[in-house]
């Protein structure tokens, strides 16, 4: 399943206008979230500056086989602006924490984007025709002199250059005291949830002035706070089930049918601690940074600092599979604690058939694990290795001992180059990797050849 990966689109630095190799970027250009829509035709990215960029896949074209399937910029808009909380005298960042697409129901596309405090519903629609032949207005829109109007005409729709219009349809504000880390659209297509550090709220997509609190782990005394919510997601098929992860490494499955307030979990997934590996950093590295249901709804994928784990919903006492992402960092935890890297939140992703999982690491490396063959690969997302059509070369991190050519030693890893956000096309083997301010889109080489 882990076929050679090829660069599909050359790295898209749409957020940086300067040509290579002098391209520099501001902090606002750092990509903070990546998400394919349900068909994979559209890919949305959010950045620290509050902007959303949507890419669209070009339809396949027989006459130009090499340009098919590439993703090009479809629309760019400013989703969130920086705000100031006057009560606490603190800034509210405009950074887009998450984007989630709604399933498409008509010609328009809808997506939810959120920063720390406010969730917005955006409508993305195309306009490729415009009406011409008004009776009361002329072509430029000026009101006609009525005396010149001698006959009635019916306006007709004439084709025009494609225009993508984006408009905010709903603003869901003032429901979160703490920072929103997750949003998830329910399978009923009517509701969605937003989760912050201590609470999860349930919204109706059409109602902005009310939300229901379904999980609340805030202690009466904030001094007693020892655990926070780190991620949450709805089950892909069962609209009553949701899962949320915590900073203590636990997962809780909640059933909304049981009670209005889902503080009591239906299932608690927790791996027993390994006493031989215990250290002062054990809790920190066990904190779950991302949780994703499999497409089948049968499994859960979680990411903590050093590993990715697959859980079976039917087995609570331990994960089904554990994948070491970068175990060589285990002896470096103190340094990583000092420079705060130990708090980095890596995301994880399933492929369309739930057979391969993917997650990011440092040095612009990302890892893929095949659950069936148990093979894994480390790849790098960098300009040098990402010329169009180039095939990515597997990388290796060596920890001493035999060192092959092109191996990277643990000490030369660049911890400022971290791949936190990755996304996998819902059906095809196309992946989107966000490396700081650059977006890389890679695809399975076989996939390309089949279509070529």
């Amino acid at each position: 399943m882990l076929n050679p990966i090829q660069v599909l689109s050359s790295d898209i630095t749409s957020l940086s206008l300067e040509p290579e190799p002098f391209a520099s970027y501001t902090e606002a250009d750092i990509i903070s979230t990546v998400e394919f829509n349900h068909t994979g035709e559209l890919l949305a990215t959010g950045d620290k500056g509050g902007r959303v960029v949507i890419f669209q896949r070009e339809p396949e074209c027989k006459t130009e086989p090499y340009s098919q399937g590439e993703y090009n910029v479809y629309s760019t808009f400013q989703s969130h602006e920086p705000e100031f909380d006057y009560l606490k005298s603190l800034e509210i960042e405009e950074k887009i924490n998450k984007i989630r697409w709604l399933p498409q129901q008509n010609a328009a596309h809808f997506l939810l984007s959120t920063n720390d405090k406010t969730i917005k519903l955006w409508k993305v629609s195309e306009r490729d025709k415009r009406p011409e032949g008004y009776n009361l207005k002329d072509e430029e829109g000026r009101i006609k002199d009525l005396s010149t109007v001698t006959s009635l005409q019916v306006p007709v729709l004439k084709p025009m250059d494609l225009m993508v219009e984006v408009s905010p349809r709903r603003v869901f504000a003032n429901a979160h005291t703490y920072h929103v880390n997750s949003i998830s659209v329910n399978s009923d297509h009517e509701t969605y949830m937003s989760a912050d550090d201590l609470r999860i709220n349930l919204w109706h997509l059409g109602i902005t002035d009310r939300s229901f609190n379904i999980v609340d782990i805030k202690p009466v005394n904030m001094e007693d706070l020892t655990e926070v919510i780190t991620a949450a997601e709805f089950h892909p098929h069962h609209c009553n089930l949701l899962v949320y992860s915590s900073s203590k490494g636990t997962l809780r499955l909640c059933d909304m049918r049981e009670a209005a307030l889902c503080d009591k979990h239906s299932k608690l997934f927790e791996e027993p601690e390994d006493p031989s590996n215990r250290s002062f950093f054990s809790e920190i590295i066990s904190s779950v940074s991302d949780v994703k249901f499999s497409h089948s709804g049968r499994y859960l994928l979680t990411r903590d600092y050093l590993t990715a784990k697959v859980w079976d919903l039917n087995m609570e006492n331990k994960p089904l599979e554990i994948y070491q992402v970068h175990d060589y960092l285990r002896s470096k935890l103190c340094s990583l604690y000092e420079n705060d890297c130990i708090f980095d939140k890596f995301e994880c992703a399933w492929n369309g058939s739930d057979s391969v999982i993917m997650t990011g690491a440092y040095n612009n490396f990302f890892r893929m694990f095949d659950r069936n063959t148990k093979r894994d690969v480390t790849l790098e997302a960098s300009r040098e290795s990402s010329k169009p059509r180039a095939v990515l070369k597997p990388r290796r991190v060596c920890q001493g001992g035999k060192r092959r050519k092109d191996d990277i030693s643990v000490d030369s890893l660049d911890f400022t180059k971290k791949i936190l956000h990755t996304a996998w096309h819902p059906t095809e083997n196309i992946i989107a990797i966000a490396a700081t301010n650059n977006l890389y889109i890679f695809q399975d080489k076989l996939n390309q050849e089949m279509h070529g």
Partner: protein, 301 residues
């Protein structure tokens, strides 16, 4: 407190059976050094964590998850140190330092070292075992040598999570900006109290080492079973100190509440990067008042 050169008996602490110091040294000197290295590293981790908690009052609201994880780490260290008896010693010394005459500024120089930002984690990790609290930071005892783990052997990178089994004998006064006269200072009477408590800690370490196997010491940074039991003596010691700024609540949410005792009181002693606030309670107070004032502005209440 203890005259120079006398082997200290541990019976004073009352926790452990008294054991003659001489017998311990020969067979397990390496383990002893490992142990003191462990407690030094643990102290450094504690200091680092407290500073991280303190530095998170920026313009943007601090990351709650990060704050909670750091606070939990501080709690774990505190619980283990309470079990060790180290905690009580340290807080006693703190109160002594508060009440007594000045602490020299050199003892607190390590705060600069602790606050140093590292861009890349690798390559420059030099553990900083010298805590900012003067009393606790008496690693240079007469018969003991400081264990300093340095970056060695390529991927090695010994950090706090593993304790190297190599013979540890490097004492690097220059690295930590400590005066070579540190040793002389510890012999002075007026400072001997603080150093004495440090030595007590060394003693307690030596004996606690009985209950730990060498394996535990050589292995990853171990935590003992936490036995949370708030020490009434501790609370009494700090009852006169306004620790409201350093409340966990404040740290986590930027909102003041009722002052509470506990590990966060240490933040007070580590609060400045410059000359010691411990030197006089008045400067301590003015610092706290200033911080309170700033907190009020931030909270806006």
């Amino acid at each position: 407190m203890f005259p120079k050169g006398t082997k200290r008996k541990f019976s004073d602490s009352g926790d452990e059976p008294a054991v003659g110091g001489e017998d311990m040294n020969q067979p397990s000197s390496v383990a002893v050094r490992m142990l003191s290295s462990y407690s030094l590293q643990r102290q450094a981790l504690l200091d680092m964590s407290l500073i991280k908690l303190q530095l998170c009052h920026m313009l943007v609201e601090p990351n709650l998850c990060r704050s909670v994880l750091i606070a939990n780490t501080v709690r774990q260290i505190q619980e283990e140190m309470t079990q060790d008896g180290t905690w009580q010693i340290m807080t006693q010394a703190l109160s002594a330092a508060n009440a007594a005459a000045q602490c020299s500024a050199e003892r607190l120089v390590a705060t600069e070292v602790l606050c140093r930002q590292t861009e890349a984690a690798q390559g420059e990790q030099v553990p900083k075992p010298f805590p900012a609290v003067g009393s606790e930071g008496c690693p240079a005892e007469e018969e003991e040598e400081v264990v300093v783990e340095e970056e060695e052997e390529g991927e090695g990178g010994v950090t706090m999570s593993t304790v190297s089994s190599q013979a540890p004998t490097t004492y690097l006064p220059g690295t930590f900006g400590m005066d070579p006269c540190w040793e002389e200072e510890t012999e002075e009477d007026e400072d001997s109290e603080e150093c004495g408590s440090g030595s007590e800690e060394g003693d307690s370490d030596r004996l606690v080492e009985d209950s730990r196997t060498a394996e535990q010491v050589f292995g990853t940074f171990e935590i003992k079973n936490p036995a949370p039991s708030p020490d009434p003596a501790l609370e009494e010691l700090f009852s006169d100190v306004d620790a409201s700024y350093y409340d966990l609540d404040t740290v986590l949410t930027g909102i003041q509440s009722v002052p509470k005792m506990g590990p966060y009181d240490l933040l007070e002693s580590l609060s400045s990067h410059g000359p010691s606030p411990l030197s006089s309670s008045t400067s301590c107070r003015s610092d706290l008042n200033e911080l309170d004032h700033i907190m009020e502005i931030i909270v806006g209440s």
